[in-house]
Amino acid sequence: MRSLTSRRRHKAVRPLLMLLALLVTGTLYSLAAPPQQSSADTSLVATGKGLFTQSCASCHGLGGEGTSAGPAITDVGALAVDFEVSTGRMPKAGPAIQSAPKVNLFTQTETDALAAYVASLATGPAVPTKAQYDPAGLTEEQLARGGELFRTNCSACHNYQGSGGALPNGAVAPSLLDASAKHIYEAMRVGPNQMPIFNESTMPDTDVRSIAGYLQELHAQPAGGLTFGGVGPVAEGFFAWVIGIGALTLFAVWIAARGARAR
């Protein structure tokens, strides 16, 4: 121990001690602090309230009553929360024209907790059950009818195969190529951003299932070659020029460069 004593005034001692102290505190805290989900006495609603206070309240108010930065959401119900949070639209990363989908950082349990909390504020639509949105078991005629419904009600903004499209003032109708049946159902009931609400009286659950089923089937179909994003004739014209005329011009250069000389 003599060596330690002799070095106790070494200039590295203070930073090292500081590091040690931080390490001990951190370790002790991580052992003592309760894991988020483990306490048995915390109900789903209470967890949700905590998460809401952390991630949502700055715009929607502590009780969901709304602020100048965000609307009141007391009566939107669990359905809207499930849609907005699980697609990553909420919480917003920053002020923007519309909430864009991004990677969802909440677990399913956390999303459920948030939904349960918001549902407890007032009555609102509940998260749909699988029977409400799952297109399994539809007949071919029902799927074809889903296509007609899609073209009549949705394709004006979302494009003929759901590739998405532009809306005024920087807003967009998002692509539905990767949208799940549940999210399509929820979006139609919620009407996020510019989208109109399709409630059960105008669009019964069966019709929603048909639309989701049509899109799933459509996207599973093989295409007639490369599709260039499925955005229609603009992309086709672009590739006609770049690939078609590009290749043929190169061939023309090649043909003209191959000469023969008469003696």
């Binding site: 009549t152 603009v234 005329i245 023309a252 043909i255 003209a256 000469g259 003696r263």
Partner: protein, 556 residues
């Protein structure tokens, strides 16, 4: 441009030795004789087969159009064997289950049948559509080549007009084909044209009833477009192609300037065997490229659009590319509409669609005559201009291309907005200004580039090409040695004629009597001065001579 441009001398030599005289004609010769004795084709073939064509890649661009037209005829015949040009309603019972049981027109149902139930049908449909895109595209670049090299000058003005005519009816042909399948997209396109027809003041509504046989969409338009698409317009194009080619043979092909190339000769290869092989081979290349595109790239997936229903419209509704600029003009046009009495004057559609299209074809058709009015040049031209040596023409051409391209981009304003994450409104507002400002900027930049290139040519003629060898003078200074150009290159760079601009002739003669007829007005002289005077005067023989007397500074 570092080294003097050399001539390729590694090309294989074409042997033209005569075969030993055969005592008896072979079987082939006998057949040839038989045909010649009865038709007299030998004489025609003898002259035609030895017809000389000059060699340049840009002369092959028009051939792409010709070959894609042939491919369109062949694939079109195949498609017409199955297509039913009828708007009669049927319930779909084909093999594409996602449309099962839906009411649709026979035209759409038969297009689905071609795509899914006819062996090879989808491939042929896609090849046909890609070939159509390439047909108009190659006609466009062919026209640009002719314009920028001045190949439309005397004696080829009429052939230019034939080309403009073919180009304009090719748009009609393409549009008719786009409308035939009667899917949601083609129906939306028809609705666009319906609006365009109705926007014609006073008579629009009556014209619409004439075209559609009643209210849009009616039941007549598909059969009518079908006959236009498979008989009327292709027949017209075929006839015009014949006349276009006959005039090429009569005029002989133009050639780029160079040593040995004169206004009175054509330097190149004979049709047989060289051009037969080259052009024939190029046909198969064009056929191969379009087939590859049809096999690997999806185009116009009609089954995704669904049958046409006037109550529906889809995002991403655009015409094929060649109508995109009209679409763009309509999209960015300000909403101006008059109501006079019981009439509606839809300037918001009439100006950007009908007037703008008319303007393009009028300008294209008038240009050869406008230019000859500006230059007063009545001579025949078989040697092409290098674009830089006609700076104002080249700049006007690039300005026109820029204007077209901006209208074109505006036609995809929604796609631009979603693909580049910008606001649809911003794209639209930007384009409203850009279609006017862009061409002006393009004009001045191109003029500057042309003049700079002319200066560079003069520099090269006077001082030779940079050798890449840096020489250190005894005094310590560094300079790059220049090598003199070959006689051939000197000729190519200085052969072009530079005519003086027109000068105004007095409006009255010496006695104060007005001169009738062929005088040059002051305004015409001013425009001529601008058109022909904006150029760099080429190196004269004396200047070149003086420079060559100077000792070459670089010695190794």
């Amino acid at each position: 441009m570092a080294k003097p441009a050399g001539l390729a001398d590694s090309a294989p030599v074409l042997e033209t030795t005569r075969p030993d005289a055969e005592p008896t004609p072979g079987r082939l010769a006998e057949v040839g004789n038989w045909v010649d004795e009865r038709t007299g084709l030998g004489k025609v073939a003898k002259g035609g087969l030895r017809k000389i064509f000059p060699d340049h890649w840009s002369f092959l661009l028009g051939e792409i159009a010709l070959y894609s037209f042939i491919i369109l005829l062949l694939t079109g015949i195949f498609l017409s064997l199955w297509f039913k040009p009828s708007m009669g309603e049927v319930e779909y019972a084909g093999s594409y289950q996602l449309l099962k049981g839906l009411p649709m027109s026979e035209a759409y149902a038969s297009t689905l049948a071609i795509s899914f139930d006819v062996r090879g049908g989808l491939l042929v449909r896609q090849v046909h559509h890609w070939a159509a895109m390439l047909f108009v595209a190659s006609a466009t670049i062919h026209m640009l080549r002719v314009f920028f090299t001045g190949a439309f000058r005397k004696p080829r003005e009429l052939n230019w007009l034939l080309g403009v005519g073919m180009f304009s009816i090719a748009l009609i042909e393409g549009f008719a084909g786009y409308s035939l399948p009667d899917d949601l997209l083609s129906g939306t396109g028809l609705r666009f044209v319906d609006g365009l027809v109705r926007s014609i003041p006073i008579v629009g509504t009556w014209l619409e009833f004439l075209v559609f046989g009643g209210e849009f969409p009616g039941t007549l338009i598909i059969p009518r477009l079908f006959i236009a698409h498979v008989l009327l317009v292709p027949g017209l194009i075929l006839g015009l192609v014949g006349a276009h080619m006959a005039l090429i043979v009569y005029h002989k092909h133009t050639q780029f300037p160079g040593p040995g190339r004169k206004e009175t000769n054509v330097v190149g290869y004979p049709l047989f065997p060289v051009y037969m092989a080259k052009a024939g081979g190029f046909f198969f290349i064009v056929a191969g490229v379009t087939t590859l595109m049809g096999a690997t790239m999806q185009i116009n997936p009609v089954w995704n659009f669904g049958p046409y229903n006037p109550s529906q419209v889809t995002a991403g509704s655009q015409p094929d590319w060649y109508m995109g600029w009209v679409e763009g003009a309509v999209r960015i046009m300000a909403p101006i509409e008059w109501h006079l009495g019981s009439t509606t004057w839809s300037w918001n559609v009439f100006l950007p669609a009908v007037v703008l299209m008319g303007l393009l074809f009028t300008v294209l058709g008038a240009w050869p005559f406008v230019e000859s009015w500006l230059t007063g040049d009545k001579a025949e031209h078989h040697l092409l201009d290098r674009p830089r040596n006609a700076p104002i023409r080249t700049s006007l051409g690039v300005a026109g291309m820029t204007c077209y391209a901006l209208f074109w981009l505006a036609g995809g304003n929604d796609i631009l907005a979603t693909q580049f994450h910008v606001s649809l409104n911003d794209v639209t507002y930007f384009m409203r200004v850009a279609v006017f400002v862009g061409p002006v900027i393009a004009f001045f930049i191109t003029r500057r580039v042309c003049l700079a290139l002319q200066h560079a040519d003069n520099e090269r003629v006077l001082h030779g090409s940079e050798s890449g060898v840096i020489v250190r003078a005894p005094g310590g200074g560094y300079s790059e040695a220049h090598e003199p150009l070959t006689e051939d290159e000197l000729f190519t760079l200085t052969q072009h004629e530079q005519l003086a601009p027109l000068e105004a002739t007095p409006a009255t003669d010496g006695h104060g009597i007005p001169v009738a007829g062929a005088g040059v007005s002051k305004r015409r002289a001013r425009l001529s001065g601008w058109f022909m005077g904006t150029t760099v005067v080429k190196v004269s023989a004396d200047e070149l001579h003086d420079h060559h007397d100077e000792p070459v500074p670089a010695e190794k």
